[in-house]
């Protein structure tokens, strides 16, 4: 078992982390490259200050708690706080980052990280229930939307149980293996799923850039499809 854990924490973790980092970097590079090479001078037409202000407004989404969205928005916001902070700043993780990458991050206190983990778990349950119970959300959801939530739930739940022997139903090592493996799998799939929004959201928010259409493109499309004499 020990060797399995070490394998999951060692080579497997490296592969997963590298896949995630390179995959996300690829997204960012492709997006940036497209912006610079395709939009060019038209980038100056974009009201960047407004784009930045509106994006930053979502960091504290109080104003976006409009009727009909309060439960899902609050759950989603709290979920994101834990989902970002706990993997990075839990004290055990901080030690791991230091050993693995040589960077030292500030660590969360035990109580704070416990509270955040439990909140995140609670929020995942709320988000899952929302997709099941609320008709419009159910009809919009696809299998991957449920599966991804469960895949995020696993490392949080197993991590919490491994850290709290009093409530852990399984041997510590088994729980630890589940924790590390599920985290590895999750990191591995990030760039290939909607979880990539963790780096793509600034690009999503630049819709005003995409309204700067490409001059001459319409003519070329029409010619390619209907020849030089293309008519309306």
């Amino acid at each position: 078992m020990e060797s399995w854990i070490n394998f999951a924490k060692g080579p497997l973790f490296s592969v997963a982390l590298l896949t995630m980092v390179l995959g996300l970097a690829r997204h960012v590079l492709l997006q940036t490259h497209a912006l610079v090479t395709r939009k060019r001078r038209r980038l100056w037409l974009v009201p960047w200050r407004r784009v930045a202000a509106e994006s930053l407004g979502w960091a504290v989404p109080i104003r976006h708690l409009i009727p009909g969205t309060i439960v899902i928005s609050a759950a989603s916001f709290l979920f994101h706080v834990g989902a970002v902070l706990v993997p990075l700043f839990l004290s055990d993780h901080v030690r791991m980052w230091e050993a693995f990458l040589g960077v030292s991050l500030p660590a969360l206190g035990r109580n704070a990280s416990d509270l955040m983990t439990l909140t995140t778990l609670g929020c995942i349950v709320v988000l899952l229930s929302y997709r099941v119970v609320i008709r419009r959300s159910r009809e919009l959801s696809r299998p991957s939307d449920y599966v991804l939530l469960v895949m995020i739930l696993l490392p949080f739940l197993s991590g919490y149980l491994a850290g709290h022997p009093g409530v852990n139903p399984l041997p510590w090592q088994t729980m630890m293996l589940i924790h590390v493996l599920s985290a590895d799998v999750l990191m591995f799939i990030v760039p290939f799923t909607k979880l990539a929004h963790m780096v793509l959201f600034p690009f999503d928010r630049m819709s005003v850039v995409h309204w700067q259409l490409r001059p001459g493109a319409g003519d070329r499309v029409a010619e390619a499809l209907y020849g030089k004499e293309a008519r309306v």
């Binding site: 395709r38 038209r42 409009i66 419009r136 290939f192 690009f203 499309v221």
Partner: protein
């Protein structure tokens, strides 16, 4: 309503599939194949790839957008959820234009675009009015207006486009008259002369409309419908220009006087060509800038796309509302505050309000002469669409949908204000709201902003607003 239902049946029949609007040659074969071919060309030559990549890999389907969408709020049909509709296009892109999608189709779900999905897109992309209200509440900022437009663009390049829009654009770009209402130049000149006579009779000043005058500061374009159906809006524009002492600073170009640009609703190719014609007319007349009359989509297309497609040849673009406010603030015009006693509310056209471009200006103008001004809630950049946006109002066969579903929220909003007058500075919104007021039996009338200004503006050397008002009251009494 009976007529609308009959029209809908007829449109379904002529299209060969269930769709609420007429399509030219709706019975085409191989829709999926044509769609994919058009999609491929648009990806190759346009700028949409990075947008699609980004949206595909981040659309979380959180369903928050439903609370903002006036269509879904009324229809409660899951197919009207913005993310569902966008999902059809994003799935198509993923499956047919990405390696991941291709791999997935080999390994797991063998999903492929079918004619039925194309038909579903043809229906759903025209149930969305592209008002972009949902983009305000999407945590990721996904702009479903862009996706709706792109879907419509691909459909139209594949040969599936609303007949009403196609016919207008064809006349504007390739017809003899070069305007969407097919007004020949002599009829246009007659029309303008008639307006001058009306102005002389009502305002007490003799004017000649400047046509094709070179080297003027402003070249004026408005929705061509203003010349035919909304002369009060146009006379209001003229009254402001005259009263402000700017009569020698503007002109209308007889080569191109129509600001309508349906390309914004469904086709980049048309959008750009219409913008180029606009720029060409200003160049021909050696004008200094573009002045756009009261029209939401026309103002937005000129304001947003003249710089994009004109690049170094771009002219400054000003909305007539901005111009009027400037005149008011500089004291160049006087609006009498004792004429309008009714309760007035203001409808924000999505195309100028969503980006926060024109929100406060019309309110400042209205509040300067209206005593009882009430807001619709929500308003401003968070406004609700009139229900006729995205070109729907030009497709008469969608009347029933626009009245009972798309416009329902707006009808309720108007009723709640208790207003006697709804001001809507947009040719499309006005047409939709007038139909809506009639359909829902709302106790109010719909006017343009400059229609109201025409009633309250003092004309130097002509009749004051009070004199004209007195005449009107006498006429009504007798």
């Amino acid at each position: 309503m009976g007529t609308s239902a009959a029209m809908k049946d007829e449109s379904s029949e002529s299209n060969g599939f269930s769709c609420q609007y007429y399509i030219e040659n709706g019975n085409i074969d191989n829709k999926a194949e044509r769609f994919l071919k058009a999609f491929a060309a648009i990806i190759q030559y346009g700028d949409y790839k990075s947008l699609l990549d980004s949206y595909c890999n981040s659309s979380a389907k959180c369903s928050r957008c439903v609370v903002t969408c006036p269509i879904y709020q009324v229809s409660q049909d899951p197919k009207d959820i913005p993310c569902y509709r966008a999902g059809l296009l994003l799935d198509t892109y993923k499956r047919h234009f990405t390696i991941g999608g291709w791999l997935k189709s080999r390994v797991a779900t063998p999903w492929e675009l079918t004619d039925e999905t194309v038909e579903e897109m043809a229906e759903l992309f025209y149930r969305c009015t592209a008002c972009r209200r949902c983009s305000l509440e999407c945590p990721l900022g996904l702009d479903h207006g862009l996706i709706t437009r792109l879907g419509r663009y691909i459909l139209s390049m594949a040969g599936i486009a609303p007949k009403a829009l196609q016919v207008s654009v064809r006349e504007q770009l390739e017809g003899e008259t070069h305007n969407t209402s097919k007004i020949p130049r002599p009829a246009f000149v007659d029309n303008v002369e008639f307006l001058a006579e009306e102005i002389e009779e009502n305002l007490g000043v003799k004017l000649t409309f400047p046509i094709d005058e070179p080297d003027r500061e402003y070249v004026f374009f408005c929705a061509v419908s203003d010349y035919l159906m909304e002369p009060d809006t146009l006379m209001g524009n003229a009254a402001v220009l005259y009263a402000a002492g700017d009569w020698d600073r503007w002109t209308i170009g007889s080569g191109n006087f129509d600001a309508i640009n349906y390309g914004l609703f469904y086709n980049d190719w048309h959008l750009e060509r219409i913008i180029r014609r606009l720029i060409g007319e200003v160049q021909r007349l050696r004008g200094g800038s573009i002045l756009i009359g009261e029209c939401g989509h026309a103002s937005r297309t000129a304001h947003d796309f003249v710089p994009v497609f004109g690049d170094k040849e771009a002219f400054p673009v000003k909305s007539f509302i901005e111009y009027t406010l400037e005149c008011l603030e500089k004291g160049k015009i006087r609006l009498d505050p004792d004429i309008v006693s009714e309760r007035v509310t203001y409808h924000d056209p999505c195309n100028i309000a969503r980006s926060k471009w024109i929100v406060e200006q019309p309110r400042q103008i209205l509040k300067s002469f209206v005593k009882d001004f009430v807001e619709m809630t929500p308003g401003g950049h968070r406004n609700y669409c009139c229900g006729g946006g995205g070109g729907l109002v030009s497709m008469d066969e969608t009347h029933e949908f626009r009245m009972t579903i798309a416009g329902q929220v707006k009808a309720d909003q108007i009723r709640d204000t208790g207003a006697d007058i709804v001001v809507a500075p947009c040719a499309n919104c006005k047409k939709q709201l007038k139909e809506l007021v009639e359909h829902h039996d709302l106790p109010c009338r719909v006017v343009g902003l400059h229609d109201l200004i025409l009633d309250v503006i003092d004309i130097p050397g002509g009749k004051t607003a009070r004199e004209r008002h007195a005449v009107k009251v006498c006429a009504l009494a007798s």
